[in-house]
Symmetry: C2
Subunit: 189 residues, 2 copies
């Protein structure tokens, strides 16, 4: 293995270990020495790869933001299917592919007060709630989604998902819900 690949691999190692710890212990509670320690490398080496703890965090949030491509809500029979579909995939992923869901959580958390400012601004640029509110309106017209303030409905849905996935990150033994249960927040009865 050439030095280039070696280097890239190490960067990834650090990045994903940081992701895991940021999500399970929280950003502030994760010490640089924790990350280095778990990887069995020195603290100095970590700084050879990333100039700061914030830079490491920023890189992860950037992955989250760039990787988040919301389908436009068209191409579904009914708008409710957009939410049901998205959530089904997300919950499946949470079970099998930890890092995808970890990135999801990290990016959501990055919007909170107290998080590093640059990453926070970046994370704010994806506005799930605002975007989904439009899909909700569509759903109210096609009869698949209940009446009510579209933003409030969208917020209720996303905050619920956030709460569920986040709690599961802290406690992996907690059973995950069926996607349908949660989409029933939106579904017209």
């Amino acid at each position: 293995m050439g030095r280039k690949e070696q280097k890239e691999e190490r960067r990834q190692q650090i990045l994903f270990k940081a992701l895991e710890l940021f999500v399970t212990k929280g950003y502030q509670e994760t010490k640089i020495s924790d990350i280095a320690g778990e990887l069995g490398i020195s603290v100095g080496l970590l700084f050879h790869y990333y100039e700061s703890k914030e830079a490491l965090h920023y890189e992860l949030v950037k992955m989250g933001v760039e990787g988040t491509k919301y389908p436009n809500g068209t191409g579904f029979e009914k708008a409710i299917d957009y939410f049901a579909g998205f959530l089904k995939v997300l919950l499946e992923t949470v079970k099998t592919n930890p890092w995808v869901s970890q990135i999801f959580i990290l990016t959501s958390q990055a919007r909170r007060p107290g998080m590093p400012e640059e990453a926070r601004k970046l994370a704010m640029t994806i506005d799930q709630i605002g975007f989904s509110a439009k899909v909700v309106e569509k759903g109210q017209k096609d009869g698949s989604i209940r009446e009510g303030d579209p933003v409030a409905l969208s917020a209720a849905f996303w905050c619920s998902v956030q709460g569920i996935v986040e709690q599961h990150a802290y406690d992996g033994t907690l059973p995950l819900p069926e996607a349908d249960w949660v989409t029933d927040i939106l579904r017209r009865r």
Copy 2:
């Protein structure tokens, strides 16, 4: 006003300012000097009233744990009404009485990894999810709650509520949902 009352008042001032900041900025991000600064008192004085930041936090969590008396789920026509009722009251309170909901959030957050150990243990003693799972079972028998793993249903409900209330604490402009929307996670269709 006597010295006794004076002292008690100051303790309360500090306590509730800490609560506000812990919830809006997060525990780690809230500096002792922030609390003192906002109250216009010196850092030293704060330590005259509370021996440490952790003690302050612990006292708040204790309030939350002691104040949390869950009705036993009896006295309702159907079990689903227990959840609907609780949530209705909670959402109403969130709007009008910030500190009640702040205590709710703080106590939930105190269970997470990275929080001060003593407070964490204390907060763990109230097991909403486990408790509510029993009420869910009742609801499945009386036909008001959908089929499925009671623990998973209970967890989905509480994590959703947590997510919604928490997000609202960070961003007060976010509209709150109707209680019914969220209880539809549980309601049999």
